[in-house]
Symmetry: C2
């Protein structure tokens, strides 16, 4: 029997037992944002710790932080083999509005081969799969093909306020060759995806001031600079009419798309007409020479998020406004540096400042973009594992948004990050009736099990980023 | 004795009597905007009617309108001589906040040769001067050098909602050769001004819509048009960086400044440094090739009065906003037509509409610009009358704002309009402690008397616009 068949049989046999265990995990209302659930957070951490123990993991510890605890465990006996750091979270979102749930959020129920409960998909279900994959391999083989370290936190749903510090102070303990995170989505039903990059973020608020107070446009209009005109002039200078950003040096460090990436995106057969219908526009818009997916995954942006100034009530007020402001943010891609981009934005604003006004620029929080190269062996291996189980080509994707903690892992631990998700975008995470398709639970256990084997065939040298 | 000396002596002799009469007029709280003063409005109209009778005017009538009455009177026995239509208003602004008045607003009081009362300067005091000038000439000469018609309304402070209709339905009754309005200001203390032009107004609201709802800038940013960017792009296309308006055909009908006008403005010795200090800017801004006064008096503008869209709260929200809007208004100069300019604005917006959005344009109320040519004999004669009494050169000015009713006179009656004011900008009209400098009351009576004589030396043909 092949290793995969053995795994298949094992998971088939244990299915009911596993589901019962997962239901217990899901029945703990570990809502990190609500202080009345502090004890439940502790329970969640303890349940996980017990589960690690049962799986055969070692050095299990519930590490206190300033907020909710981090649960750590490892198994480090695969000499000379790579070490995999598995990150996930045991906290969940609140459940309001409760009346929209068809079954109780913390009373898990299987309907139509879907498991309904808060956290089923995001992220307890997916964390549980990693634990069970390890348990299966240890039971079946007595050892793992790779070393593993679990780092499961309790504050992901509140923005991981204490995790970066935890990682910084535990760099040695967390040292690994690759980090695997199962907290993102598949490309669609039956269509697995490996996400290997996310965009970063930076932004500024621009406040323009002209005259010391609003002026009458009859008495002064045409003779004193208008703060909104001045602001508009700065904003318009940022982009050309096709959306290309005209800030000097903005694209300097943008890593070009590899031909293989463009082919991979094209192979996804993204339907632009469906997108138009979804968002309600007659035409898409963006940088020339790139497809929609390339634009939102691999190209940086500069978007005006808000603008304000002068009179916005009903009708007319012939005022020459003293003040106007706008908020802009940039989504950044590798290898743009948020600090450097903000410096360039400021220089651009200074250069394009119209006559007759003063301009104040305030920086927003920044986040670095992240990428594990498309052709990195850890990424390609993940794709192969998916393909073995799902029997369709894996989608290689990036995300247009930012997950700050991923960037932190990337930056502090300097590891290749593999985002290997089993959720579906329709599974109502953060909403009532969250559920998890058990088809992906069943297949996912085998994908993960296989992936550990795939990784064991790679040398530490090959895994280096 | 010269005619002027005779007038001088007459007004000097009657001064106390005149002031007592004016105080009675000012003691009537004819606040047009407050319904509890409806009876006072009637009292004001009746007082005026009695005053006309005492002066020797004829055909006196209190004409009812849908709002407060108009008071009409005439004297039409100057055969073959021009007819002067005198417009003014007997209604006043509210008096809040009452506690800031040093003396009761409707208990007139002279302090330091200034008459304090609501309406002292705006406009009862100035209307009164015209009545007394007529009375003087009739008493002294037994006749007037010109025909006169008084049209004194009671709704100027609420936007003259019924006057245009009144003028339309009484075109024959109001027919004249020139209209004189004393409801504006002098250039400064001791510095008389004739205002011979005002700017008009038109404007639109521009509403831009992109996607049907706000989008996440991570998931969609760079791939769907941003409504604020699109709006900014339209707005920026309206003007170049020096403030010249780039709407096609915008300047087509702009009447160029006459060399004499430019010289007259330059002669005013306008202090741009004082203006900068007043409004709090380090540099003025406007169309190249024009001085500040030329820009605000004789050049059209396009100003953004308000802008709104997306997130304007504290901090950051990475939204790609669905909707954004702006309000713009244009100050127009002769011979621009508001309808035509709005048509051109719309064509410009259509032409500059960026991809991926829809744009809605909503028109605001319009007002025509007005001008009586600088070299018109009625304007120059007014200047001469001022100079005889004030013994300094008269300032020939225009106003940057709009007085809709002046444009209506200009348009319906097709008469040269002479704005011959005796107020000072420091006299707190519309504010507590409104007052009128009696120096200008004394001199103004003589200027007006002299002006009627000056006009009588002009033929109807010469006065044609």
């Amino acid at each position: 029997m092949s290793q995969l068949t053995i795994l298949d049989n094992y998971f088939a046999e244990k299915r009911e037992k596993h589901l019962e265990e997962l239901k217990k995990f899901l029945s703990i209302p570990s809502i990190s944002s609500l202080s009345e659930h502090k004890a439940d957070m502790q329970k969640g951490a303890e349940w996980l710790s017990d589960s690690f123990k049962q799986a055969g993991l070692e050095n299990i510890v519930i590490d206190e932080t300033k907020g909710h605890p981090v649960v750590y465990a490892d198994w480090l006996h695969a000499e000379d083999k790579p070490t995999v750091l598995i990150y996930g979270h045991y906290d969940v979102q609140p459940v309001d509005p409760l009346n929209l749930w068809e079954s109780e959020p913390f009373n898990p129920e299987v309907r139509d081969n879907k498991l309904y409960a808060r956290g089923a998909s995001d992220d307890k279900g997916q964390v549980f799969m990693h634990v069970k994959a390890v348990e299966a391999l240890l039971e079946l083989e007595g050892s793992l093909p790779v070393n593993v370290k679990f780092l499961i936190e309790g504050e992901e749903e509140v923005g991981s306020p204490n995790l970066e510090e935890y990682i910084e102070s535990n760099k040695d303990k967390l040292a690994a060759d690759v980090i695997v995170i199962s907290d993102t989505g598949m490309q669609g039903p039956g269509q697995p995806a490996v996400c290997y990059g996310l965009r970063g973020l930076c932004g500024v608020q621009i406040d323009v001031k002209g005259a010391k107070g609003d002026l009458h446009s009859g008495l002064y209009g045409g003779g004193v600079q208008n703060s909104i005109h001045a602001l508009v002039s700065i904003l318009e200078s940022f982009r050309d009419e096709e959306g290309t950003i005209e800030v000097e040096g903005f694209y300097d460090n943008v890593r070009p798309l590899m031909e293989e990436e463009r082919e991979a995106y094209a192979a996804l057969g993204f339907n632009e007409d469906e997108l138009k219908q979804e968002v309600g526009v007659t035409e898409l818009f963006g940088e020339k020479g790139y497809t929609h997916l390339e634009r939102v995954w691999a190209r940086p942006t500069l978007e005006i998020n808000g603008i304000f100034g002068g009179f916005s009530g009903e009708g007319i007020k012939t005022v020459l406004p003293s003040e106007a402001g706008a908020k802009i943010t940039c989504r950044l891609v590798p290898d743009q540096d948020p600090e450097e981009i903000v410096t360039k934005l400021k220089a651009h604003i200074e250069k394009h400042k119209p006559a007759g006004v003063t301009v104040k620029v305030t920086e927003f929080d920044k986040g670095k973009p992240f990428i594990t190269p498309f052709d990195h062996p850890a990424i390609q291996a993940a794709g192969r594992s998916y393909e073995k189980i799902y029997a369709v080509p894996t989608a290689y994707t990036r995300g247009g948004g930012s997950i700050p903690i991923v960037a932190a892992f990337d930056e502090i631990l300097e590891l290749p990050v593999v985002l290997m998700g089993f959720g579906l975008s329709t599974e109502n995470f953060h909403a009532p009736n969250e559920h998890f398709h058990l088809e992906n639970f069943d297949k996912g256990l085998r994908v993960i099990g296989d992936y550990y084997n795939e990784l064991s065939s790679l040398s530490k040298e090959e895994l280096k980023k």
